[in-house]
Amino acid sequence: MMLEVRDITVDYDGVVALEGVSFSVERGEVVSIIGPNGAGKSTILRTISGLLRAKSGSISFKGKEIHNLPPYRVVEHGIAHTMEGRRLFGLLSIEKNLLLGAYTQKNKSSIHNKLEEIYALFPILKERRKQLAQTLSGGEQQMLAVGRSLMAQPDLLMLDEPSLGLSPVLVKKIFETVKDINQKGMTLLLVEQNVREALELCNRAYVLQTGRIVTQGSGKELLSSDLIRKAYLGI
Amino acid sequence: MIEKRTEISERRRTMFKVKERVFSVLVFTVVICLCAVSLSLGQEKVVKIGAIYPLTGNLASTAMSSKRGLELAADIVNNYYDLDIPFARTKGIPGLNGAQVKIIIGDSRGDPKVGMGEAERLIKSEGCVGLVGAYQSSVTKTASQVAERYGVPFLNSDSSSYALTARGFKWYFRLCPSNETWAQNLVSFIKQVEKEKKATIKTLVILHEDTEWGASSADMQKKYFTQAGYKVLDVIAYPAGATDVNSEVLRVMKAKPDILVMNNYITDGILYTRTFKTLNYNPQHFLTWCGCSEPGYIPAVGKDGNYFFSYSEFAPELAQKRAVVKQIMELYKKKYGENINENTVRAIPAVLLMVDAINRAKSTDPAKMHKALMETDIPADQLISPWAGIKFDPKTHQNIYARYVIVQILNQAYKCVWPPELASAKYVWPWPEWNKR
């Protein structure tokens, strides 16, 4: 098991956001977490990356406990997190954003190679690499956010609503990219509200409601389950 | 069984430890309280005098000197000293069964509002029978309003704003001269210079920091110089906390006056000295007020301070004429290891007069103290200040015998040059140019 989250409880100043959440991700998998707004999806990712502390429970990654580490140590263990809303460094150039993604990397030539790899994946970023990140369009910003995470050369990439606020065409494109990244060997933990696309893409998925996991299964199983069809797909 | 007992006693012991600690703290507290009570019972009645000074803020070093003056005055009253000054050879206040004097100091931080609050506290919470202070005229103004409201005497020996006595307060008395006195003294001095040095002095510029003190001093100077037939080319106000005074000096240079009359504190005084030198500004002379007389000024500027005229309310030269001045200077030097300075001298008479009034009134009753203050007539030989005595104008309560002396910095020391009867050195006029020293 690459990532194992066991029975975590998280609160914001006493207001419970997650209660006894457990799940796991295996190497090479795409695992989705779906659920309505405010269910606690982002909270899960923030807890894994160390931005939040779980009140109880544990998180292990590649066999090591990581739930007590500060964010910068979690990155060193190989987890990259693309936060909801991109969270780019708007007043820095695209290239500097990407280089900051590689902050933990020491090897200059491997950073350079990775940069070229990202540019190959998103040619538009190369074209605009001297421009400030805030001048990019929504879709381009999302590419940059994903690219910046990949620069850390992680073993696990966590994506928080990568399709948020994008036009249908771009949503499709983002999902293609995600699939592409996975096929190149990246393990993915995907949080989405575009339930259908997410379920079609993933190997397994967990459904979160008000801080608890209410059901889980393979993407296909869930696509055909009544609960999902009624609540999320509107069928 | 034995084990059990040891266990119990062990536990007792730890319990006792806690109790013991609590108990000893209690005992300690009670003992301290008893000591305090017995001390205050054992002592004679204590008369509290409140003092308001800017202990923190940019006048802190000045206020430190004043504080020493207050301490020294209280010490002289409370203990036996062989000095030719009233209350030195007795312990406490004779007219009040030897009551001791205690000075309670409030920190105004140089802020009129804070000073007001402190005055309130000193009168209401501390029970002070009278107030002294408060150095800056702006603070004295508000603090004395509080004294006026509560009907307790406010004796002021170090604020010079003319406006303070113009208010006609019942409880406010000023021992020291005002900025009106200073303007008159300056004009007399310049007239004398014209005669003695055959100098042609026709124009002047007045430079002042923009608090009430500086502004009202400048008003008075403008009034008296104009009356005496001199032309005031410009009156320039500037912020008291300036970090740079280039624009001020350049404006003065543009106006080209014969003399520059300045009203400044020490910080800006140092800054001006540097800027005059850098820009090589040389009028016939500089007449400064206040800043150049602060104890920190000469150490800070060194030789560059030479030749500035300034004022003083203390003339060490008096030591040769009045025994008491010499005695106080020696006493101070012994106590604090440095020479007494003007700000210390200024703080002393207010406390001594308050004591004198209580002594004559044989009471701390405000009405009786007020009557005694109005009847004050102290001759010059009992004073350490260069005043001609203390007697209050019945309406304004300004000491009609108050006056300043004019000093010049020569060889990095203040030398009295006016009035002629106190002069100890010949003054240098005109100003020796910066480049030619």
Binding site: S49, G90 | A242, T243, M253
Partner: protein
Amino acid sequence: MEQLGKLLIQMIISGVMMGFVFSLIAMGLTIIWGVMNIINFAHGEFLMIGMFFSFFFFKYVSIDPLFSLPMVAVLLFIIGFITYHLLIKKVLQGPVLAQLVVTFGLSIFLVNLAVFLWSADYRMIENPIASGKISLAGIAVSIPELVASIGSMIIGAAVYWFIKRTKTGMAIQAISMDKDAAAIMGINTDRLNAVSFAVGVMCVGVAGALLSNFYYVFPEVGSFFGVIAFATVALGGFGSIEGAMIAGVIVGLAEIVGGFLLAPAYKYAIVFAIYLAVVLIKPTGLKGW
């Protein structure tokens, strides 16, 4: 007319020279604000400490302020670093009020400590290497002021380079734009906060050391420069380093030229008026984020 022209040139030179010193002071303040969102009310007091250190090096070990400058810089960096760990760090997560109170309290504490340790007296470094003046065609340039402005420019440029061109500087910029995003890039935000605070304190301390060549040293000196620093940072835009640099020069010029042309009494009012004018057009200041 010719005289007025000369006076004007004189003023512009003096104004720009003081301006560079203001820039350096403001840079320190704006870095601290930008990175930690903390208003460092004790900024002026660190200036005071820098001045006192220079003075003591001169007085007790006879090292000229110019040569003790690197040592003062290092000492202030260390003091900033320690201050961060002892105080600032503790309140960063806390309520805004605590953040205001802590630096405000620190400023009062430092002033009183200085009065206690060193007394409230005014001190001046007499005859430092940087003294005297250069006179050219009736225009006087004070050498200590010139040295202070060139020194401020050099240090300011070095700090600018550090923030804009080094990896650590880039990380500091990242934190100032988005703390959480920076953290998940692998940036140790706590350590870089400490570095930023220390750099900010070092900037103002160096400015103090440079000022000590011609400005008097006393415990309350910080409040004078502190106020100007706040106005400068506000004018330049909170958190903007370029803004602080430009605004420093504007403030220096406004103070002197404005003071001369209008009235010295209003020279700080003029600075404030310029600030208001800029804010009306661009609420975030000249270069605000």
